[in-house]
């Protein structure tokens, strides 16, 4: 079942190669949705039974953490894929572009799923590197100078980070060999975790530090976030959605696995202090950096830095906070993907996504602006949606744990970022500047087809989450918290 899940998007990518543009996009969309459904069933099966299933003689294994992250990635990919269908021209000379996007996006999805579900750390690193390469191609999709430079910066920083990731893995491998002897079990996460106390703490501390630096770049925590604003501004909207929603969560899963190994070896305090420190610094820095941004895509990029920091901090605290962190990743991933996708339509409608220039969206199309407002509200943590529930849970755990100072700083940053983004969004929607930029009339149907089901799902997660699932998430959190 795990292999099917991982290989489905890859198969879909191959299929798209053969199909004409229109059908390729449709295939990519249905493929992504099918992957989401498959991931959800796998997740329910693993979480309810509590026991993990392995595949391909141990290289892949669906444990609690992996399955949850699989759902996060699949959800973001599904939203991005569905909105992708509406944002690429499928006739004329632009047709091959659409097909290339479909192939690359599907391949990226399968690489991400492979990373998350890999039990063998080597395979995890390889699929991460593959995802980085595919991501670079997708970021540089538009072939203009800005996109190419953004892609190059994404690639260079990513490769440097992954080199350190590779070194971290080899350190773990050394500790593994000392404890378990040669062979593949020395690289299997499950085996290493079981043999936790016998691992050499010193080596694992260095491995964790290297992993934090290496994967920190891929997650985009401050100050290693420098590639994010350019990448998300240059990439086409559905790609930015997929990257912001799914691709940044995957290295966080890798970092968590290294953290779990380190805490199994007795270095739990170092892991939690590292995660919480990185998280709070990112949230605070994102708040400061977002103030001067005027382009809505760059603003969203910095909110992505902030939410990743918030999630990392949540994972560093106690199991209650980690549960909130997992929910936060799911909600943030999906809503960020939807926000970027809608932003693509908004930019196409009014000519620019800059908050200072361009006509008001309300004047041009009321339906799109209503959907855009609700989506951005949800992405900022307005109540009925999932993000409010996760932020409430994490803040609750933060204050219950007695971290009052951190709690106040984080709450202040969340509020300030809300202020900046809300101002930008309201300016974009209700601007009345007479400078009428060239905007193409998009059809409302395809945006509604993406937005409405996603928002409904998020509202369901936010308000009507079944208590059973909520406790299962707590069980996963207890297993992997530092």
């Amino acid at each position: 079942m795990i292999l099917v899940l991982v290989l489905l998007p890859a198969a879909c990518a191959v299929l798209c190669l053969a199909l004409p543009a229109r059908w390729a996009l449709a295939a990519h969309g249905t493929g992504a949705v099918a992957t989401l459904v498959l991931a959800a069933t796998l997740a329910r099966q693993v979480l309810s039974s509590g026991l993990a299933t392995a595949a391909a003689d141990g290289t892949f294994r669906a444990d609690g953490l992996g399955v949850t992250f699989a759902v996060v990635v699949a959800a973001a990919a599904a939203v991005a894929a569905l909105s992708g269908m509406g944002s690429f021209e499928t006739q004329g000379e632009a047709a091959p572009l659409a097909r290339r996007y479909a192939v690359l996006a599907s391949a990226l999805l399968s690489a991400l799923l492979a990373t998350v579900l890999a039990d063998n750390l080597g395979v995890m690193w390889i699929s991460m590197e593959l995802a980085a390469v595919l991501g670079a191609f997708l970021v540089g999709f538009r072939r203009d100078r800005g996109a190419l430079e953004a892609a190059f910066k994404y690639m260079i920083l990513g490769s440097a980070g992954l080199v350190l990731g590779l070194l971290a893995m080899s350190f773990v491998y050394k500790a593994g060999i000392q404890a378990l002897g040669h062979g593949d079990s020395a690289l299997s996460f499950q085996a290493l975790k079981k043999a936790g106390p016998s691992l050499a703490p010193g080596t694992l501390r260095i491995a964790l530090a290297l992993a934090a630096a290496g994967y920190g770049v891929k997650i985009g925590l401050f100050p290693l976030h420098t590639w994010k604003p350019d990448a998300y501004a240059a990439a086409p909207a559905p790609v930015a959605g997929l990257l912001a929603g799914g691709a940044v969560a995957v290295p966080l899963c890798a970092l968590l696995r290294f953290g779990a190994l380190a805490s199994a070896a007795g270095e739990g305090q170092l892991t939690s202090r590292l995660l919480v420190g990185a998280g709070v610094v990112s949230v605070l820095a994102a708040m400061i950096l977002v103030v001067r941004e005027t382009d809505l895509r760059r603003i969203l990029a910095f909110t992505s830095v902030e939410h990743m920091g918030f999630a990392a901090m949540a994972f560093g605290l106690d199991p209650m906070a980690m549960r909130g962190g997992l929910l936060h990743l799911l909600a943030n991933g999906t809503l960020k993907a939807l926000a970027f996708s809608l932003l693509g339509y908004v930019a196409r409608e009014r000519g620019t996504s800059d908050t200072q220039r361009g006509p008001g969206l309300f004047g041009r199309s009321v339906g799109l602006s209503a959907m855009f407002l609700v989506t951005m509200a949800a992405a900022l943590g307005f109540p009925p949606f999932g993000l409010f529930a996760s932020e409430l849970t994490v803040l609750r755990a933060l204050y219950a744990g007695g971290h009052v100072a951190i709690g106040l700083v984080v709450t202040l940053s969340l509020a300030a970022v809300f202020g900046v983004v809300a101002t930008g969004v309201l300016r974009v929607v209700f601007a009345r500047s007479d400078e009428s930029l060239p905007g193409a009339r998009g059809s409302l149907a395809d945006t509604a087809a993406v937005a409405v089901p996603t928002l409904a799902a998020m509202a369901w997660v936010g308000v009507a989450m079944p208590p059973g699932l909520w406790n299962q998430l707590l069980a996963v959190a207890r297993e992997f918290a530092p």
Partner: protein, 210 residues
């Protein structure tokens, strides 16, 4: 054998520092090729010590073939296409980058000495040299403005990791080694393509070629 090994290790780090200090692009690419051969040699030296020597032979062949021959040729082709002779602009001038490299090397050997208990280390000093090479490669990447030089820096970091892995565990399982080598190759190809495309996008006369 140990004396030969230590000479090889020192040579590796020296080549990395040479690339750091060189201004000539073509020379630094050739230096990288030489470094790959030396690395292959170290792998051969390490072969008898590990349980499954054929892995290491394959690794040595892979390194020599891919990184010794294929990659430098691709890079030289790119250099010819981009018509750039030497990378004179520096973000970080040579003396300060050398200081950073020195500090990095010291730190690397310090950390390396901690990870091994007494007498456990099969390849004496390989981990330290590997981490040192990684840091020097990083300094090369962050110090230069030209893309090709940054790619060379990345490749040197790559060699550093493989050396460190040899030092740590006498090589990784086979599929991991192959996967790593493949990925590096693909990454370098993409960077070369980007470099080429950016230079195309660049209308003549607007700023230096990347």
């Amino acid at each position: 054998m140990d004396r030969l090994l230590s000479h090889a290790l020192i040579l590796l780090v020296a080549i990395a520092i040479y690339v750091l200090a060189s201004r000539q692009l073509v020379r630094s690419i050739r230096a990288f090729a030489v470094q790959s051969y030396v690395l292959a040699a170290v792998a051969l030296i390490a072969a008898p010590k590990s349980e499954h020597p054929h892995h290491l032979w394959l690794l040595a062949a892979l390194t020599a073939g891919v990184k010794g021959v294929a990659v430098p040729l691709a890079l030289l082709g790119a250099v010819r296409r981009l018509k750039i002779r030497h990378d004179i602009e520096f973000i970080v001038n040579i003396p300060s980058s050398l200081v950073m490299a020195a500090i990095g090397t010291l730190g690397a050997f310090q950390i390396a000495s901690r990870t091994f208990g007494t007498g456990e280390e099969q390849l004496k000093g390989a981990l330290g040299a590997g981490m040192a090479t990684i840091l020097v490669g990083l300094v090369v990447m962050l110090g230069r403005r030209k893309i090709i030089t940054q790619i060379v820096g990345l490749l040197i970091m790559e060699n550093g990791v493989i050396l460190a892995t040899l030092g740590l565990t006498l090589g990784m399982p086979l599929i991991v080694e192959i996967g790593v080598a493949l990925d590096v190759l693909v990454a370098v190809q993409i960077l070369a393509i980007f470099a080429y495309r950016i230079s195309n996008e660049l209308p003549r006369g607007e700023g230096p070629p990347p």
